[in-house]
Symmetry: C2
Subunit: 315 residues, 2 copies
């Protein structure tokens, strides 16, 4: 199996587009239930019908099969809503309704409204059940050789990791906890995952934009299939001095390789990267003039797809 | 009047989005006529009703008010279609139907189909009448000071220029003629507009992606208002040595300023840049870590909007 760059995009940004696949889009929209919070007249996520139906009759939730909406009715502020969400999700974890909740992390992610206000926080492992937008940080660490060629620090995930074990990863990547500043999240992950010196990251990491996509999760046996995961990744580049060598700082990373662009592209073609990390790498290759309109026939589509305008409000 | 960065985006990428403004989107779609070519079951542009109606009864065109489509029925290949399009548009120029055709340029732009095949070529000044996707090249030339600070070479358009006279422009920008390679187009424009040495551009211009948007033209008195211009701009950066000074190579540019980031951002806020050039500059500021999530509250939306996935097929 060899993946084109567009294949890699399609694999990660898999939710249909209204314009290019109107029938498929309409079918998806009429399948999923829309998540709302009381007194807010817009959706903030999509749930599978099998997930939505579990909320039927649970206190603080209103399931409407006519409008295909699930509304969180509890609370007048973020704290109260977060409390209600946590109570329900913890109960669902206890009852064993959803396989994804076995990976309970005790980390909370933020869900934002149209005014960029915090609506509520949600346990990380449960976010895909609700289909809400998740936020992360990704940084590509690279070295520039004397001849100008770029090499990229590429970690392999520990085989024991809950998700995507053994696959290749971004130099640094992680999720943003509720209330955490994205850049502070990056500094923390850089230390935890790659043992990068904090002052070096603060001085030289360069913000370069965001990568956004609408992922459909493909769970293994026993889990729900079709959970949705719209995501915003804040992206940085960092050019490392040759004497700074990333090292696994916890047991989540097995080892780091310093790979040439050819080696990275070969691994991309083989599908060895975690899907969203492949997208951040494609963005890197485009911004650094390695993928161009001259060598990538799907250049225009790829650039747009890397920056999808999500259906739901974002920060 | 002071423009936020999101204001600058809204000004250029003005066609409504299906998800964020469903009513406005539906109203627009039900106003415009869709352009098609025979035996191709998809749209390639939108026309104003007042424009579409002029094609009624003209040979080689079929106007259908039921489906609100205008179909080019002539030709079995790009050459034949181009010929038919040229004949009609030249006649419309002669009859003085459309003000935009007074700016006839004798340059032809390409219109592509879903398989990235050339469907036909169209006179540049007429492209917005048909609402088809146009392609251009934009390059930001900058200088890096000893302290690392960036200065940007910023030209002012000649006051006599047909469009946006006297406004600020990209260091280098221009349209891509049918059959022309984008990079060759850039090299040509770099010489014509900024007198940049060809070998320097070939060696050091760095491809950095595309900027895409769906513009609604605001013509002055006498012209059609609401003409559509979906556009793809291929984007390059070039870091110039200090002794290379861009000079106007034709009478389209008045002069070049070497401006600090503060000066560029001040001019952006004042709305002094040609609207699509403002977008390419915002993309530059984002990729160079000057606009970040820490200082731009609409960061996520801006990055997505700079890379709109257009409704029509693109190259």
């Amino acid at each position: 199996m060899s993946y084109s760059n567009l294949d890699l995009i399609n694999q990660c940004d898999a939710f249909p587009y209204y314009h290019t696949s109107p029938d498929l889009y309409a079918a998806s929209i009429s399948t999923y239930y829309e998540l709302r919070v009381l007194n807010h007249d817009y959706g903030i996520g999509y749930l599978l019908p099998s997930v939505a139906s579990v909320f039927r009759g649970i206190a603080n939730w209103d399931l409407d099969d006519e409008t295909r909406t699930l509304t969180l009715t509890a609370g007048n502020n973020a704290d109260e809503r977060s409390e209600a969400v946590a109570t329900t999700l913890f109960a669902l974890k206890q009852t064993g309704h959803f396989k994804v909740l076995d990976k309970w992390r005790n980390e909370r992610y933020a869900v934002f409204g149209k005014e960029k206000e915090l609506l509520f926080a949600v346990e990380r492992s449960a976010a895909p059940l609700l289909g809400v937008v998740m936020y992360g940080v990704h940084m590509t660490a690279y070295v520039r050789e004397e001849d100008g060629a770029i090499k990229i620090w590429t970690p392999r995930r520990a085989k024991t990791k809950q998700t995507y074990g053994g696959m290749l990863d971004q130099s640094v990547a992680g999720g943003i906890a509720v209330g955490e500043d994205p850049f502070e999240s990056l500094v923390r992950e850089s230390a935890e995952e790659a043992s990068l010196p904090e002052d070096l990251v603060r001085r030289t990491a360069q913000a370069v934009g965001t990568v956004t996509y609408f992922h459909i999760r493909t769970e293994k046996a026993g889990g729900e299939t079709g959970l949705l995961q719209p995501e915003v990744e804040y992206v940085w580049d960092i050019e490392l001095p040759k004497d700074v060598v990333p090292k696994p700082g916890d047991d989540e990373v097995e080892e780091f390789y310093l790979w040439s662009i050819d080696e990275v592209q070969e691994a991309l073609r083989k599908g060895e990267f975690k899907p969203n990390c492949a997208l951040v790498l494609l963005d890197f290759l485009i911004r650094h003039g390695i993928l161009t309109q001259g060598n990538e026939k799907d250049y225009i589509e790829i650039v747009s797809r890397l920056h999808r305008k999500l259906e739901f409000p974002t920060l």
